[in-house]
Structure formats: structure tokens, C-alpha cells
Amino acid sequence: MKKLVSSVLAASMVLSLAACGSSASTDTASSSEAASTSTAATAEAAGEGSGAYTGTPIKIGGIGPVTGGAAIYGQAVKNAEELAVKEINAANGSDVFEWKFEDDEHDAEKSVNAYNTLKDWGLQVLAGPVTTTPSIAVAAETANDNLFMMTPSASAPAVIESGDNVFQICFTDPNQGVASADYIAENKLGTKVGIIYDSSDAYSSGIYEKFKAEAAAKNLEIVTAEAFTADNKSDLSTQVAKCQQAGADLVFLPIYYQEASQILIAANKSGYAPVFFGCDGMDGILTIEGFDTSLAEGLMLLTPFAADAQDEKTQAFVSAYKEAYGDTPNQFAADAYDVVYAIYQAAVAGGINGDMDASDVCDALKAQFTSMTFDGLTGDGMTWDASGAVSKAPKAVVIKDGAYAAM
């Protein structure tokens, strides 16, 4: 009996809380109105087709971790998607997109739940999920429903293997590993390569494996490959010491920037100064609050996006993002922003309307994406093949005087 009472109590609490919740969320929507009006100007300046879309708004949803350990990535994607949707709607005059974002805590089960919640809402296009494992699970569901899915940042090949409705805007992991090895070999950046990667992370281990294979093909000598896991990443000094002992003159870091910052600090402490080379996950290292950016001096990375690039598009995005959310956007944000704009371009070109059902929208978008070319923040002239993988040119940058410089 008591169990019943307590569960009723919990349920009633939930209901009452949910009631306050909905009013709270309308609050946030209206408060961020301000951000949208201020960014509208930049969107128009960017010159996206004004008033090109006149139909019923298309329901576009995003999924990503906005709570828990991976929240930085989900939050960046959420913000950038919101920004892009607001810009597009404002520039168009009438609403092109209706947008909703759900949390998945970087968990496959929660991600599928989030997807189902979005379906109940009337989802027509999915701009997510953010991380790899949830994306694989959700991709199988979308393939089943024939609902168009484009992930900003889940880079494993297994994501797009789920179906022909699944697209990526980021490089695939193998692609990055191969490109990094080629770049290092061609520019003779180092002869003895050490690697430190996160073996508990699909992204990091995916790049590592392809890098290793390609490095062998290019006659790069890998002297040591050290792993860490999500559980023991607080202390990375032993991995750094092992690279040092092995005499590596270049350390490849296919990892995210927060662990990379620790590696740079540990290397500095032990007086070890090889060339450090990273991938797109490294972008953001200069924005860590409290990080001594002089330690990142000389760090090279292959990234599609650099927040202080001088082109007009990037600058408009960065300033709008900073104004709305107070942070410098990282590559997750840039990828997400591109996803929304790419879908917008395809929707307009393909004559897609919010009245169509999700499956028809999906077929039309598939046809568009495999034939169109898209210029975004993360690359010009992006194209997609039928598998859903993107083709775009990686940019290599080096950190000089606390800022990115082209190489």
C-alpha cells in the first residue's frame, strides 16, 4: 500500500512539476527571442535566399547529450541548431523550421527514447544525434521509419551503414585517420610517431586504427601507442612519459581537447616538447577557461572549422553565437549549424513542404543530398555520396601566438 502511495506521490509531483516546466520553457523561448532578432541581421548579410520558403514549417529535431559527462558536445550542437533555425526563420520572413531538441545523456537507450518523443511531436527531419553510440542505435530506428537523419558529429562509419537515409556532415573516423597520416608523412612533420588515444571512445579508437594502418603504408614509424579510458583519464602523465621514453618526436592525439590540454600540461611539466598533432576534436583547446594557451603553441590540427578564421561566414557565426550563448563555438557547433543550413538548402531546392509525411520528405532530401553541393562553415563544395558520407577538404592549422594560423 505504502508503495502505491509513494508512487502516486511521485507521479503527482512529476505532473505538477511538468506543469511548471512547460511554462518555464515558454519563458526561455521568449527570452531568446532577443538573440534571434540580433542574429537575423547577420543571416541576411550572409545572403541566404530570403522568403524562399512559403509552406508549412518543417519539424526538425535534434538529439544530443545536454546533461552528463558529454554535455559540452550536446550543448554546443543544441545552441548552434537553435541559432541556425532562428536565423533561417528570420531571414525567410515566415517560419521554415519548427525545432525541438531532446537530451540523450550520451546513452543509446535514452537516445532512442528521445527519438520516439520527437516522433510523437511530429518529427520530419532529424538533425542528430551528436555522439556515436547513440547515433548507431537511432540510425537503425530512422532507417526503419525512413526518416531523414543527418548527424553533425557522429563520425563512425557504422552510423551511416544503418541505411541510405542516414547522412553525416563530419568526416568519418577512417577518413580523418588516413588524412592525418598522409599529412604528417607528406610534410615530414616527424619520423617517430607516438599516439595517445582514448580506447573507451568509439571516435578516438576509430581514428587511431585507421591512422595506424595508413602510417604503416606511408612508412611512418609508430614507436608507441598509448591508450587511456574514460575512467582513468585524470592522470595522463604515464602515457606522456612512455611517449617520451620511446623517443617520439611527434605525438598524434586523436582525442578531445580537454584531455589534450592535460597532455600538454603534463608534457610541459616533464620538459617534453615534441610536435603535437590533433584532429577535429582538438578544436576548442584555446577556449578552455584558465588554460595557458602558450602550452598549445605549435600544436597542429586537422579540422574543418576554426573559430578565428577570417572569412565572413565564420565571423558572422562566431559573433552571433557568442552574443546568444556567451561562448566561442567549437567544431560541434559549426557542424550542427551546417547541418541545419544544408537541410534548408535541400528543402528549398527539393520543394519540400511541412505538409508532406516524413517518409516523402526523406526521399526528397535523399535525392537532393546526393546531387547537391553545399558551402558551409566546415567546408566549401561539400558533396555526399549515396552511402551518406561527406566529401570535403580538411584544413590543417597550426597554433601560433595563441591563435590558429593556416599551414
Binding site: 505504502k2 508503495k3 502505491l4 509513494s6 508512487s7 506521490l9 511521485a10 507521479a11 509531483m13 512529476v14 512539476l17 511538468a18 516546466g21 518555464a24 520553457s25 526561455t28 545536454v66 546533461t67 552528463g68 531532446e102 537530451d103 545523456e105 546513452d107 543509446a108 537507450e109 535514452k110 532512442v112 527514447n113 528521445a114 527519438y115 520516439n116 518523443t117 516522433k119 510523437d120 556515436t132 553510440t133 548507431i136 542505435a137 540510425a139 537503425a140 530506428e141 526503419n144 563512425a156 557504422a158 551503414e161 582514448d198 580506447s199 573507451s200 571512445d201 568509439a202 579508437s205 587511431y208 586504427e209 595506424k212 594502418a213 601507442a225 591508450a227 579510458t229 574514460a230 575512467d231
Partner: protein
């Protein structure tokens, strides 16, 4: 009819009735098209968590030992069962592959139950809890570094990376470290889940109400006294622990076959804790409570989605408040009074009920 039953039988019938009633209700709602995608998507995980909670309650409630590594059994069950399914579904009929997956998942988890169960005999209390926590973490870390591939030469295994498998060109990587198993064909359904829940409940309720179950509870209440009257402690402790592990493995297979990807990271310490929360909130030793708590608490975070960023904050607060409400001394006292009354009735009507029991059987 209910009136004439033995108290425990009646309680069991009610518990099973709730499960069957829930199933019927869902089928009706589903036929009427009144089910949301969100809810129907949660049905299989609910079943898996119910099995987890009921099986953990056997360890925590009946055996009286704290386990912080129940997700470890779920993990080994999920991986072994899914492997069997992935391999078998190519060249065996679907139902057979599925059945085999559940059997293997449960058996492998049971085997690990025996392995971990041995320290149970030496340790107790918080030290035992740590050993189970350690077990869960070991499973997670090893599975995260586990690479398994197959080619014409047979199976290849490595704890380093998939390149070390030295597969032939046509070889297939089955478990790819942190990526786990991908491309699983979704096979779990709500019906399978409910059938498994009912089997779990039948087996565990039977065990609890059997001679063995009374022995297990005697060990929990006073190990020394139980030993002194000749109860084989080792045998019964291991029996409870392994049964609990087997069903955790089955739940793992059910859970894994509901998604297209399976990673070891899912079955970490937080999942073990989550299951423990179900058990404690539902009432330690109360199987029906576990069923209800697991279902309600699985749905709860989804219901809180409208809260946006405050979702998990509210969840944490609800957890603390409900815990205090449920377990504060006044409520405990109330429960003790109630259970004392039940026990008395039990004792009084025992002779008559034993006869009835024969009749029922």
C-alpha cells in the same frame, strides 16, 4: 477464490496479475492507437529493468547482501547472448536463434555468478559490495578493450586493437572494443519481454517460498543461528546469488537485442546503482515493489522531458524526497506494525493453510 489461498500465494497471484494486466492494457491501447511512440519505445527496456530489479532483490532482499555490480552480469549476458544471436540468426530459424541467445546469455552470466559468488562466502557487508562493484568495473574495462573477429580460420581475439586480430580481408569484426557490437537486428519485443518477466517472477517467487527460500532468509536473519541448525550456508548463498546472476544475464540479452548497437560502457557502475535504486525504492525484499518501482522510475525521466535542462535535477530531487518519505523512521515504524500483524496471522492460520496448500497443489 483469492480468499482461500495461502497469503504468499495470493500475493504472488496479485503480482503476476499486475504484470499480465499491464500487458493486456498495453495491447488494448496499442490496438486502439492510443500509445505514444515514446511509451511504446520504452516497453522493452521496462521489461529488462523489471527483470534486473527482481533478480537483484533476490540478492539484496532475500540474501541480505549488497551488490553494486549487477550490471556486470547484465553485460556478460548481453554480450554473449548477442554474439550467439548475431552468429546464429544467419543460419538458423529466428525463434531458435533467439531462444539460444537467451539460454547462453543466462548461462554465461550464471557462470560468472559462480565465479563472483565464491568471494561471497568469505566477505560480507560493505566489503562484499566493493567486490561486486570491482567485478562490474572489471567487466566494463575488459569488454571495452575486447576485440573479437571471425574469418575462415576461426575466431580471433585481442585485448589491444582490431588490427591485432590479423583478420583476413573477408574477416568480420564481431566485437570492436569501445564500439562494441554494431548492426544488431532488433529482435526483442514487448511480448518476449513480458514472457521473460513472468518466467523470472515465477522462478524467483517459487524459490523464495520454497524450502530453499526459507533457508536463504534464515541465513540473512542470522547466519550463525542458521549454521547451528545445520543449514548449508554455502549452498544456499550461492544458489541465490547465481539465480540472480542468471536472470540479470537474460535481462541483458533482452535489452541488447532491442538496440542496434551494444557497448560495454552502458553497463557501468551507474546502471548497477540505478537497479539498486529500483530495489530500495520498491522495498527491500518486496518483489512486487521492485516491479512497480522499476517501471515507474524508467518512465519518470521521460515524463520529465518537458523540464528541459532541469530534468535530471528534478529527478535527483524526486529521488531524495521519495527516499526520505519512504524510509523515514515513522514510516518504518508503520511498516513494522503492519508486517508484525501479518506475521501473527500467518502463524495462527498456519496449520489450516498447510492443508489448503496440498489441496491447491
Amino acid at each position: 477464490m483469492l480468499k482461500n489461498m495461502k497469503k504468499s500465494t495470493k500475493s504472488n497471484v496479485i503480482t503476476l496479475g499486475i504484470v499480465v494486466g499491464f500487458y493486456v492494457l498495453i495491447q488494448i491501447l496499442s490496438a486502439a492507437g492510443a500509445l505514444t511512440n515514446s511509451f511504446s519505445g520504452q516497453l522493452v527496456p521496462i521489461c529488462a529493468y523489471v527483470i534486473m530489479a527482481v533478480s537483484l532483490n533476490l540478492t539484496v532482499g532475500m540474501l541480505g547482501e549488497l551488490s553494486l555490480g549487477h550490471a556486470g552480469f547484465m553485460s556478460v549476458g548481453a554480450f554473449s547472448g548477442t554474439l550467439v544471436y548475431v552468429v546464429m540468426s544467419e543460419n538458423a530459424p529466428q525463434p531458435l536463434a533467439l531462444l539460444l541467445a537467451f539460454v547462453v546469455g543466462g548461462a554465461v552470466a550464471g557462470l560468472f555468478g559462480v565465479l563472483v559468488g565464491i568471494p561471497v562466502l568469505r566477505l560480507s557487508g560493505d566489503y562484499l559490495a566493493i567486490v561486486t562493484l570491482a567485478f562490474g568495473e572489471i567487466v566494463k574495462n575488459v569488454m571495452n578493450a575486447c576485440y573479437l573477429g571471425v574469418d575462415s580460420h576461426g575466431l580471433h581475439f585481442s585485448l589491444k586493437d582490431s588490427a591485432s586480430l590479423n583478420l583476413e580481408v573477408d574477416g568480420k569484426v564481431l566485437i570492436n572494443g569501445a564500439m562494441g557490437i554494431t548492426g544488431i537486428k532488433k529482435a526483442s519485443t514487448f511480448t518476449i519481454g513480458i514472457v521473460l518477466v513472468i518466467i523470472t517472477l515465477l522462478v524467483i517467487l517459487n524459490l523464495v517460498n520454497s524450502r530453499a527460500g526459507r533457508a536463504i532468509k534464515a541465513i540473512r536473519d542470522n547466519e550463525i543461528a542458521a549454521r547451528s541448525v545445520g543449514v548449508p550456508i554455502t549452498k544456499y548463498k550461492l544458489m541465490a546469488f547465481v539465480t540472480s546472476a542468471v536472470f540479470a544475464g537474460v535481462a541483458g540479452v533482452l535489452y541488447a537485442l532491442n538496440y542496434s548497437s551494444l557497448v560495454a560502457k552502458k553497463f557501468d557502475y551507474n546502471t548497477s546503482i540505478l537497479i539498486l535504486v529500483f530495489v530500495v525504492l520498491g522495498g527491500i525484499g518486496n518483489l512486487r515493489g521492485s516491479v512497480i518501482a522499476a517501471a515507474v522510475l524508467t518512465v519518470l525521466p521521460e515524463l520529465l522531458r518537458s523540464m528541459n535542462d532541469y530534468r535530471m535535477l528534478i529527478y535527483a530531487i524526486v529521488l531524495i524526497v521519495v527516499m526520505i518519505f519512504n524510509q523515514s523512521p515513522e514510516m518504518i515504524a508503520l511498516r513494522k506494525r503492519l508486517t508484525a500483524r501479518f506475521r501473527k496471522e500467518d502463524a495462527e492460520g498456519k496449520g489450516a493453510k498447510d492443508k489448503e496448500k496440498k489441496g491447491v497443489a
